[in-house]
Every structure is written in structure tokens, then in C-alpha cells.
Amino acid sequence: MGRISFFLKEAFGSLRRNYFMTIAALVTVFLSMVVLGGVLVFVYTTSALLSEVEQKVEITVYLKTDPDPSQEQIDALQAEIQSWKEVKSSTFVSKEEALNRLKEDFKENPEILEGLTGNPLPASFEVSLVDPKTVDTVAARFNGNASVDEVRYGKEIADKLFTFTSQARNFLLGFIVLLGIVAVLLISNTIRLSIFARKREVEIMKLVGATNWFIRWPFIIEGVTVGLFGAVVAVVVVLVLNSVLIGRIRDSLTFMTVPLDAVPYVSVTLILLAVGVVIGAAGSGIGLRRFLKI
């Protein structure tokens, strides 16, 4: 019988014979992981929503009206804008379209626009950005451009929004880190408790001549098994719940595109599995330490 197969046999035998503690540990791992995973998903989703909101920050570039720029100038400007890597897309709104929009706005009180002769409205570019945080930089580039009259992007609102979203992100990040620590503590706590119940067993092993590692390996394998198994079940539950919930939320949120693909399933899965395995192993290894001193 090889060493490794002996350790494996020991570990699985012990998991079976101490089934009560195995179940207790599994339950703790599972529950902690479900909460951690659920919150991870929630944070990812919220974070995607925040990005969505940030995307609403656009730059409107009003062109001069007196005289209006020539088509060449407009084309040149559009080409320049689209050559900037910060820009996601830009739409040209012609003078006519601007007027149509205005008419649409006032269709209840057409009297207001009755006296209008000609078209006093400027043409404009609506520029949306890859990273909305670059709005200041991009806006500044239009300064001094001959065709541009004015650049508007709601600087104050944008700044406030960014403060808010970054605070929210910090908060969520803090929450995840805290919850991660909590999950780690809860799991290692339970593993240590279940090792504590087998304190006498470990002492006997030492007294009949087992080395520390000979005792440790089966315990570590047990810890890893419990951690991994609990995490796998938790991952399944979290991902199933997530896809069910997201479906429902999306239905009720038609005015906002909920990014269904925002949750990186793979990384959530990997994070949970890694936490399970590492804490399982470390919890066992560290929990044993005090009993190996004999």
C-alpha cells in the first residue's frame, strides 16, 4: 500500500466514521460559501449596473451656428473624434434633427414654436466614451477648435456621479473582503472545532510514534475534501439562483439593460473553490498544531 493511498484511505475512512462532524463542517462550508458567492454575484451585478449608469455620461459638442461649419469641417471633426481611443461612439445630430427633436418635445404646446423662422439650433456631436472617467480629458480637446461653439457634459453631475459610484464600489469591495474574512474564519473555526473533538486521537498517534506529517496528511485531505465539496455545492446553488433571479429582475427592469453576462461565472467558481480548498487545508493544518506538541 503506497503512502498516498494510505493517507487517502485514512482521510475518507475518517470522514465516514466521523460523519456527524463531516456533515457539520460541510454545512458550515456550504452556507458560508453560498453567502459569499451570493454576495460576489450581487456585487458583480451591481457593479455592472453602476457602469451602465456611468455610461450615461456623454459629451455634447455644439457646433458654431454663425456661420454653420461646412460639411468638410464636420467630416474632419467626426474623423478626428472617432480616431481617439477613449471614444466609444459618436453621433452627429444635424440642425434639422435638432429642430425635429424640439418640435417633438413641444407637441403639446405647438404655439410656442409657431413664431420660429429659420433654424436657430446648432448641429452637435454626441460622444460616448469607453471609460466615462476620461470625460474631462476628452472634453478639453475641443477647446480652441474652430468649428466648436460649446462643449457640455454636466461636469458637476458627472463628478458627483463618479464620486458616488467609486464610493459604492469601495463599499462593495469592502463588503466582499469583510465577508471573505468572515467565511474564512467561520470555516476554519468549524474545522478546528472538529479537530478539537479528536484531540485525544491525535495524541495517541503521536505516542505510538507517528511523525507530525504522517498525522497531518489525512487531516489535510479531509479538510480539502470538505472544503472542495462544500464549495462545489455552493457554486451550483449560487449560479442556479443567480440565473433564476437575474431573469426575474430583467423582466421588471425593462428601462435599464441588465447585463446578464456581467457575472463572470468562471471567476466566481474559481474564487469559491479556491477559498474552500485553501481554508480546508489550512484550517486542518493549523488546527492540528497545538495537539501535535506532545
Binding site: 500500500m1 503512502r3 494510505f6 475512512g13 475518517s14 466514521r17 466521523n18 485525544r200 486521537e201 495517541i204 498517534m205 503521536k206 505516542l207 505510538v208 510514534g209 507517528a210 511523525t211 507530525n212 504522517f214 506532545i294
Partner: protein
């Protein structure tokens, strides 16, 4: 084989375990350790396997000073000392057979006949039919015999037994004693703490008597009580 030099062990705060014990046990000897309840027999044994450290003096086993023995080397010391514990110290989640095999497996060089070996030893103590029983499924005497089997199975050069017959009927005790005797004949040093007057008186071997932690008698061919 065993050397105690002025060894004192005080349990905190002030219970005397052993007091100024100096003695010498040669390789191949068969020694009885006797004394009233609480006189320090188990303490003596626990010092030998470095389960305890003496407060003063020096314990050496097989020429090795235990005080200077590095922590990671302790398991190797213990593999060379078969020990029958007064409270058996069986692993509760292992069967009789697994308990005995464990002592073989810890050495790392266990091979395919470790199971055969363990079964042989179990029959030797009359427990072949209990190989699959867990400790809590065995009688007191049966547990004690599993503990004895585990101590033997390695053929260690030193065998220590702390009242190995306390839970055994006279007949079974006799069987165990004969086993110990045969083992001793093959050169193994045997140290046995016991209260079995009959046995000690019959064997006429070296007797070390403790009282309140002190050696009060050390006789080459003694009986349980003073002659």
C-alpha cells in the same frame, strides 16, 4: 538500555511524581516496577517515551539523552519502544486490526505483510475473532490485549507495559506473561509496572519498588513484597 540519573518530576504545583530516582536497566533485562497506587510508576514510564520532561536529572534510553533529543526525532524514539498504556490509548475510530497495523504503518516501511503480521499478533493475544471490532465494541480485557498486541507488533528493542493485566483474568494474564517472557528471551528489554503479586512472586525477576516517587527497593530476584 535505560538510565535514570537523579531524576525528579514534580507535577505543578507541587505533586511529587518521581523524586531523585537513579537507576540503570541493562539491555535484555526483565524488570517489574511495583508500588502502591500513585507511587510514580506511570510517571516513570511517561518519562521514558518523552511524554513528560523531568524537572531535574537525566533520562537516557539506548544511550541517548532524551533532554537533547530534537523534537522531530521523538517519533523515532517511540517506534523503538513498544508501550502498553494503562488506559490502553486505542484509536477510537479504528478497528482492532487497524489499531495494531497503525504501529506498523507509522514506520513508513510497511509492506504487504503488515496485515498478516498484525493478524498473527492478534491471534497470539487471543483476539483473532475481534479484528473488525472497534474499541467501544470490546470488553475491557479485550481492549487491553489489543494495546498489548500493538506494542509487540514492531518487535521493538524495549517493551514497556503499564499494568497490562489489570483487566485480565488470571489465565489470560498467564498467557500474556508467557508471551512477555518469550519476547524477553529474544533479547528484548521488558519493563512492566504491575500490581499482580502472584505473578511477580512466581517470576522472580528484578523488582524495582517505588513509594511516593522514590525507589525504596531494587532487588535482582525479588518478590512483590519485601522478602
Amino acid at each position: 538500555m535505560i538510565k535514570f540519573e537523579d531524576v525528579t518530576k514534580i507535577y505543578p504545583p507541587s505533586t511529587v511524581g518521581l523524586e531523585r530516582v537513579t537507576l540503570h536497566i541493562e539491555k535484555g533485562e526483565f524488570v517489574f516496577l511495583v508500588g502502591p497506587s500513585g507511587s510514580g510508576k506511570s510517571t516513570f514510564i511517561r518519562l521514558l517515551i518523552k511524554e513528560l520532561e523531568p524537572d531535574r536529572g537525566r533520562v537516557s534510553v539506548g544511550g541517548r539523552d532524551l533532554a537533547t533529543l530534537r523534537r522531530w526525532k521523538i517519533p523515532y524514539l517511540r517506534r523503538n519502544i513498544g508501550c502498553v498504556f494503562q488506559d490502553f490509548k486505542l484509536l477510537p475510530n479504528k478497528t482492532a486490526l487497524e489499531n495494531v497495523m497503525y504501529a506498523l504503518l507509522v514506520t513508513g516501511n510497511a509492506n504487504h505483510d503488515s496485515k498478516k503480521k498484525a493478524l498473527e499478533i492478534l491471534s497470539l493475544v487471543g483476539l483473532a475473532h475481534k479484528e473488525d471490532s472497534f474499541p467501544n465494541q470490546m470488553s475491557g480485557g479485550e481492549q487491553q490485549r489489543v494495546s498489548i498486541a500493538r506494542a509487540f507488533v514492531n518487535h521493538p528493542p524495549l517493551l514497556i507495559a503499564d499494568e497490562p493485566t489489570g483487566n485480565l483474568d488470571p489465565e489470560t494474564s498467564m498467557g500474556i506473561m508467557q508471551l512477555l517472557y518469550r519476547i524477553n528471551k529474544t533479547g528484548t528489554t521488558v519493563l512492566m509496572a504491575t500490581h499482580d503479586r502472584e505473578m511477580v512472586d512466581r517470576m522472580r525477576r528484578r523488582v524495582i519498588a517505588l513509594e511516593e516517587g522514590k525507589v525504596v527497593r531494587d532487588q535482582k530476584r525479588g518478590g512483590y513484597g519485601e522478602d
